[in-house]
Symmetry: C2
Subunit: 310 residues, 2 copies
């Protein structure tokens, strides 16, 4: 068995327009990398963090990857020594599941390093504990797709019920990350606690349509279902230029477009890499025109989840 | 071409627990029968209605089947004479889509009689106009499954977007109709206009789970997803003994159980005909114990919709 392992875990788009708090999917880039190394002295230590501009704590009890690895070891009653190097290769606070990717990379790596005592699905609760440290609550809509790959439905939290949804062959994601900051906490607090039944019915019709569209490989149905009448109208005001960026994506041929997680990143789905690139460049033009810098990420839906790099 | 045709159209279970206003499925019995006969004098006439205990009007402009047939003829600008005999073979006001079955039987029959100028999906708007006469609004969650067969998702009403959901091979429906009356109008008026976002999220997680379960042939997922936290808790109070009937169904092995449409009928889904019968008899025992008479209907999911009888 190796003494050291390097693992990549992908960024994720949570909510996916209509599926607030229940849907997410993984992309092929960006994502985070961790290197875990066995040590003789017991305990989990974060030795190095790169790419975070000094914003993340190296305290293993307070950092999402440290907590995820520690909970895993505690659950299995393994008194191991693990040193962690975390390479943030994606923007923090971007709505792309940055903390989830770190936590998933950590638990996937430690499970590999220790000879795979658990299967992939069984790692979920420990990655969720990492999320709890980062976000204050143990959400699964980033962690589950990052860990399992593909599109994931979180049907229920109590008990946890996570379902991997088969997806069609040609589904490409465009993500644009505008360089503005949105706090997840703020994005959650501005939501209304009560919503009209009529809007809720529209929303669950769309959730049903999106799941059916993905499973039937009906791209037009996927597009028609990517509508959020509840959360997007409220959160969009936190993202400068959102409506114009969305319109540019749709005009460029995207099936649908929405806010990634709690934003500020915006995602779109398309049926080819070519369209996905065009969508990205049209979205970026809109942000450029209002003097907002941005990064664009294009990839297929990532169906495999974390990857061992060496 | 024949001058007369007899058609059966099936009863339907709308809502299907979590899918309020967006989901419905068809059964093999009960249902309604119509006989349509071409006449030389133009106009739509309802000559006979049986099985309604005199409760339905024979005025073709006010009866659901008359309106549906008239709208069809008007749309195609066909100046035909059609006599209609309607045999109600299912209880009225039962939550089983009685008016939808009549309207669907009518439009399906007239389309056949005139050499099928329209395909099955194109008949939907005319059957919905029949529903509007009966219910005051043009709902599709009974009409669409009665017309198309199987499980149907109504993703959107404006524009109308109806998706047939593939279903697993072994899915049996038990319906029990307690002899109590619930007015659709009352059942709709007692609903809250505003609902907690938290409950809505639970509900759309379940809608997603039910669609995925049906398409993955995952019977346990179907069962876990058949939960309604929004409508059932309110409507259940209109149906004496509902909670005990539901508990009896689940104890007898049903995957899930809920109110059919706006009630008072209660439905359950099971994985075999044997279990479906046991479920029905256990449900009936509960209603018997509180002196409420009932009819039980058992069938597979009806995947074909209306049928020509001769």
């Amino acid at each position: 068995m190796k003494d050291s392992i390097k693992v990549f875990a992908p960024a994720t788009v949570a909510n996916v327009a209509c599926g607030f708090d229940v849907l997410g999917f993984a992309v092929e880039n960006p994502g985070d990398e961790v290197v875990l190394t066995k040590k003789s002295t017991p305990g989990v230590k974060i030795t190095t963090i790169t790419g975070d501009e000094g914003r993340l704590t190296k305290d293993a009890d307070k950092n999402t990857v440290g907590v995820a690895v520690s909970r895993f070891l505690k659950h299995l009653q393994i008194d191991a020594g693990i040193d962690i190097t975390l390479h943030k290769k994606m923007p923090l606070g971007s709505g792309l599941g940055s903390s989830a990717a770190s936590a998933v990379a950590g638990v996937f790596a430690v499970n590999q390093l220790l000879g795979m005592p658990l299967n992939q699905q069984e790692l979920l609760p420990f990655a969720m504990e990492g999320e709890r440290i980062a976000c204050g609550s143990a959400h699964a809509d980033n962690v589950a797709p990052s860990l399992l790959g593909g599109f994931v439905l979180i049907r229920s939290y109590d008990p946890l019920d996570v379902i991997k949804i088969p997806t069609p062959a040609n589904l490409y994601s465009t993500i644009i990350h505008p360089q503005v900051e949105v706090q997840t906490k703020d994005a959650r607090e501005i939501l209304k606690k009560q919503i009209p039944l009529r809007d809720a019915v529209t929303q669950w019709g769309n959730v049903g349509g999106l799941i059916a569209g993905l499973m039937l490989s009906d791209y037009q149905l996927i597009g028609r279902s990517m509508k959020d009448v509840i959360v997007e109208p409220i959160r969009a005001i936190l993202i400068p230029g959102f409506e114009d960026v969305k319109q540019a994506a749709l005009s460029a041929g995207a099936l649908g477009c929405g806010i990634s997680g709690s934003g500020p990143s915006i995602f779109a789905l398309s049926t080819s890499e070519e369209i996905a690139h065009k969508v990205g460049s049209e979205m970026q033009k809109v942000l450029n025109s209002i003097q907002i810098g941005s990064e664009v990420y294009i990839s297929k839906i990532n169906n495999s989840g974390p990857q061992i790099l060496d």
